[in-house]
C-alpha cells in the first residue's frame, strides 16, 4: 500500500500504539466527557419537562407538527451513514486507507443510530406507548399498517441498528483479543470475555473473513436503503417540497456527506488526544475530504434539481413552496444550508486545503451545521409554507425545549463515543496490520 506511513510502523508498534489509547487519556479527554455529560443533563431536564407538560412545550403550531425533533432524527440517521459506507462499501472496493479510520466511523454509526432512535420516541409525545409500533399479537387483534412509510422506517432503522452493531462487534473481536493478550488484572478478564475465545487460528480466520465479507455485502444495500426509506417518510406525502422522486438518492448523498464531515470532526480531536498521528495520517484526511467533496457536489446538484423541477414542472403549489423556501420568513435557514453545503466544500478542490487538518476541521463543522439546516429547511419550511394551509399559516419558532433536547442529543452521542474510544480499540489493530508489509525472511514485502 502506498500509504504505509513510516518504516517504524510495524505489527508490534501498531498493537502498542492502539492499546495505549486504553490507558490514561489525560485532562483534555475528561474535559470533553464532562462537557458531553453536561449537555446530556440539559437534554434530560428538558425531556422531563416535556414528559410532564406535553408536546405543547415544543414550538408546534398548525401546520408545523414535524419540527426540530424530526429534523434531529433525520440528521442523526444521516450521520450514521458514512460509518457503514467506510466500513462496508469501501471494504468491498478494497480501499486500503479505510483501515485506519473505519472503526471510529463504525462506532459513530452505532451511537448516531442510538441517538436518532430516541427522537421518534420523543416526538410521539406519549413515549410509554412506543411499543404500539411493534407488530405484536394483542387483545384487539390490531396490526400496524405496513403501507405506511413510518412502519418501513421502523424496520429500516431497527435493522440498521442491529446490523451495524453486530458489524462493529465482529470487527472488534480480533482487536479485543490483541488487547487481552497485553492487558493485566481485571481488564484482562473483561477483554477475555469480550474476545469470545479469539486466538487467530486458521479455522477462526477462515470463517471470520468469509462471514465479514457477507456482512459487508449485506450492509452495503442496507445503508443505501435506510436513508431512502427515511426520505420516503416525506416523499410519500403530498406536501409540496416533499413529494419528489429525487428524494431517495438526494437523502443518501446528503447522509454520507454529513457523516463523512462528522468523521472528520471526531477524528481530529481523537487523533490529537490519543497521539495517533502515525496511524491516522494526512493522507487519510485527504481521502475523507475527497469523499466529502464528491458527496457535497451531489448534494449541491440535488439542490439545483429541486429548484429547477419546481420551476420547470410548472405546478403553482411547488413553485410557491420553493419561492417560500428561498425568500420566505426562513430565508436565513435556506441560505445557511446552501452556503454551508453547496459552496463551502468547493474549497476542497484545493489540495492545500484538503491536506490542512485545521481547515478540514472548520469546514466539517460548517457542513454539519449546514446539513442540520438542510433537514430543518425540508421539514419545517415545507410544512410552514404549505399553500393549502396558507390561511392557517402560523409563525413557527423552536422553543427552549426543542433546543435543549437537541443539545442533549449531542451530549448523548459524544458521551457514548468518548466512552467507546477510551475503553475499546478506536483504530482497528488487525486491519491496520493487514495493509502493512508482512514480515518475511530477509525482506519486507508490501501486501
Amino acid at each position: 500500500m502506498a500509504e504505509t506511513p513510516t518504516p517504524r510502523v510495524t505489527y508490534d508498534f501498531v498493537t502498542r500504539a492502539i492499546a495505549r489509547t486504553l490507558g490514561n487519556p489525560g485532562k483534555g479527554y475528561y474535559a470533553l466527557l464532562t462537557l458531553a455529560v453536561a449537555l446530556l443533563s440539559v437534554g434530560i431536564v428538558c425531556l422531563l419537562f416535556l414528559l410532564r407538560y406535553g408536546l405543547g412545550l415544543a414550538g408546534y403550531s398548525h401546520p408545523v407538527y414535524w419540527a426540530v425533533y424530526i429534523t434531529c432524527f433525520v440528521f442523526w440517521v444521516g450521520i450514521a451513514h458514512s460509518g457503514t459506507l467506510i466500513s462496508a462499501i469501501l471494504f468491498l472496493f478494497r480501499s486500503g486507507w479505510r483501515t485506519a479510520v473505519y472503526r471510529t466511523a463504525e462506532a459513530m454509526t452505532v451511537f448516531a443510530v442510538m441517538t436518532a432512535g430516541l427522537f421518534p420516541l420523543i416526538h410521539i409525545g406519549r413515549q410509554w406507548y412506543f411499543y404500539w409500533l411493534i407488530p405484536y399479537p394483542n387483545e384487539r387483534g390490531l396490526w400496524p399498517n405496513f403501507k405506511s412509510p413510518l412502519i418501513w422506517d421502523e424496520f429500516a432503522i431497527g435493522t440498521y441498528f442491529t446490523v451495524s452493531t453486530v458489524f462493529l462487534i465482529m470487527g472488534l473481536i480480533p482487536d479485543i483479543a490483541a488487547v487481552r493478550d497485553m492487558a493485566t488484572g481485571w481488564r484482562k478478564k473483561l477483554y477475555a470475555i469480550c474476545a469470545l475465545g479469539w486466538r487467530g487460528t486458521n479455522e477462526q480466520w477462515r470463517h471470520y473473513t468469509r462471514g465479514y465479507l457477507y456482512l459487508a455485502a449485506l450492509a452495503t444495500p442496507l445503508v443505501l436503503s435506510v436513508h431512502s426509506v427515511v426520505s420516503w417518510d416525506f416523499a410519500m406525502a403530498l406536501v409540496p417540497g416533499w413529494h419528489a422522486t429525487i428524494f431517495a438518492p438526494y437523502f443518501v448523498a446528503g447522509a454520507i456527506y454529513s457523516g463523512v464531515a462528522m468523521v472528520i470532526t471526531l477524528l481530529v480531536p481523537i487523533r490529537k488526544l490519543f497521539h495517533l498521528e502515525d496511524l491516522i495520517t494526512v493522507h487519510h484526511f485527504e481521502n475523507l475530504a475527497k469523499l466529502c467533496l464528491l458527496t457535497g457536489m451531489i448534494v449541491g446538484y440535488a439542490y439545483c434539481v429541486e429548484y429547477f423541477t419546481a420551476w420547470f414542472g410548472g405546478h403553482a403549489a411547488e413553485r410557491a413552496a420553493f419561492w417560500y423556501r428561498a425568500f420566505g420568513p426562513f430565508w436565513w435557514a435556506s441560505w445557511t444550508m446552501i452556503i454551508c453545503n453547496a459552496f463551502l466544500p468547493l474549497l476542497l478542490w484545493r489540495k492545500n486545503i484538503r491536506t490542512s487538518i485545521l481547515a478540514l476541521f472548520v469546514i466539517s463543522i460548517f457542513v454539519n451545521i449546514g446539513m442540520w439546516f438542510e433537514r430543518f429547511v425540508i421539514i419545517v419550511e415545507s410544512l410552514a409554507g404549505e399553500p393549502f394551509e396558507r390561511f392557517a399559516n402560523a409563525t413557527y419558532n423552536p422553543t427552549w425545549a426543542d433546543w435543549g433536547i437537541m443539545a442533549g442529543s449531542f451530549g448523548w452521542f459524544f458521551m457514548w463515543f468518548l466512552l467507546f474510544v477510551k475503553n475499546f480499540p478506536a483504530v482497528s489493530i488487525s486491519e491496520v496490520k493487514e495493509v502493512l508489509p508482512v514480515p518475511q525472511r530477509g525482506k519486507a514485502r508490501a501486501s
Binding site: Y11, D12, T15, P135, G141, L142, W143, P144, N145, F146, K147, I151, W152, F155, A156, G158, T159, T162, V163, V166, F167, M170, P174, A177, A178, R180, D181, M182, L196, G197, W198, R199, G200, T201, N202, E203, Q204, W205, R206, H207, Y208, T209, R210, G211, Y214, L215, L218, A219, P221, L222, S225, V229, S430, E431, K433, E434, V438, P439, Q440, R441
Partner: protein, 181 residues
C-alpha cells in the same frame, strides 16, 4: 460423584498434546505448513495476527460454510417479511379506496429489510458455530499471547513419543521457538 458440566466440555475441551512453534515470518510459516502436510499431518492449527492469503493457499481449506448460513438466513428473512405483512394485512383488513388489502410493492421494503436482518444475524451464528465446531474437534490447543501481536504460530498435535520429528521439522522450517505442550 461430581458430574461433568456439559458446557465445560463444549467451551473448554480437554488439552491436546503436541508441539507449538512460534514464527516471526510468514514465508517460514508457509514452508512449515507445506512440510507438515507432506509428512501427513492434517489437524494442525495455524495462528496469525492478520488473515493472510499465503497461509490460506498453503492450507488449501475448503471455502467456509458460513455462506450457506447467510443464504438460508436471507431467504428465511425475506419469507418472514412477506408472511408478516400479508398475514397481518388480511387479519386486520384496512379497506381503503378499492385498493388491494395485501399490496406487494410497499411490502417489498419490509421484505428487503428482513432479508438483510436475518441474513446478517445468521451469518454471525454461522461464524460462531463453525468456529466452535472446529474448536471442539481440535480440543484445547497450546497458544501464545504473541500470536495476536506480531508472531505467527503452528500447533501440531503429536503424542509425546512422536513429537521429536515434528519439533525438528518446525525448527528446520524457521521457527524462532519450539516447545512441547
Amino acid at each position: 460423584m461430581k458430574l461433568a458440566n456439559p458446557l465445560t466440555a463444549i467451551f473448554h475441551p480437554p488439552p491436546t498434546p503436541g508441539v507449538l512453534g512460534v514464527f516471526g515470518h510468514v514465508d517460514a510459516v508457509v514452508d512449515a505448513i507445506g512440510q507438515l502436510r507432506k509428512a501427513g499431518h492434517t489437524d494442525f492449527t495455524v495462528y496469525s495476527p492478520v488473515p493472510r492469503h499465503e497461509i490460506e493457499d498453503a492450507l488449501e481449506q475448503p471455502v467456509s460454510p458460513v455462506r450457506m448460513f447467510t443464504l438460508i438466513g436471507g431467504i428465511a428473512g425475506c419469507a418472514i417479511g412477506a408472511w408478516v405483512t400479508l398475514y397481518m394485512s388480511y387479519d386486520w383488513p384496512l379497506v381503503l379506496g378499492g385498493k388491494p388489502i395485501g399490496s406487494i410493492p410497499p411490502y417489498v421494503v419490509i421484505m428487503f429489510e428482513m432479508t438483510i436482518l436475518f441474513g446478517a444475524l445468521s451469518t454471525i451464528l454461522g461464524i460462531l458455530f463453525n468456529a466452535l465446531f472446529a474448536a471442539r474437534r481440535l480440543g484445547t490447543v497450546a497458544y501464545d499471547p504473541r500470536f495476536t501481536n506480531d508472531k505467527f504460530g503452528i500447533f501440531a498435535p503429536a503424542e509425546t513419543a512422536r513429537a521429536g520429528p515434528v519439533e525438528s521439522l518446525l525448527r528446520g522450517a524457521g521457527a524462532e521457538e519450539v516447545r512441547r505442550a
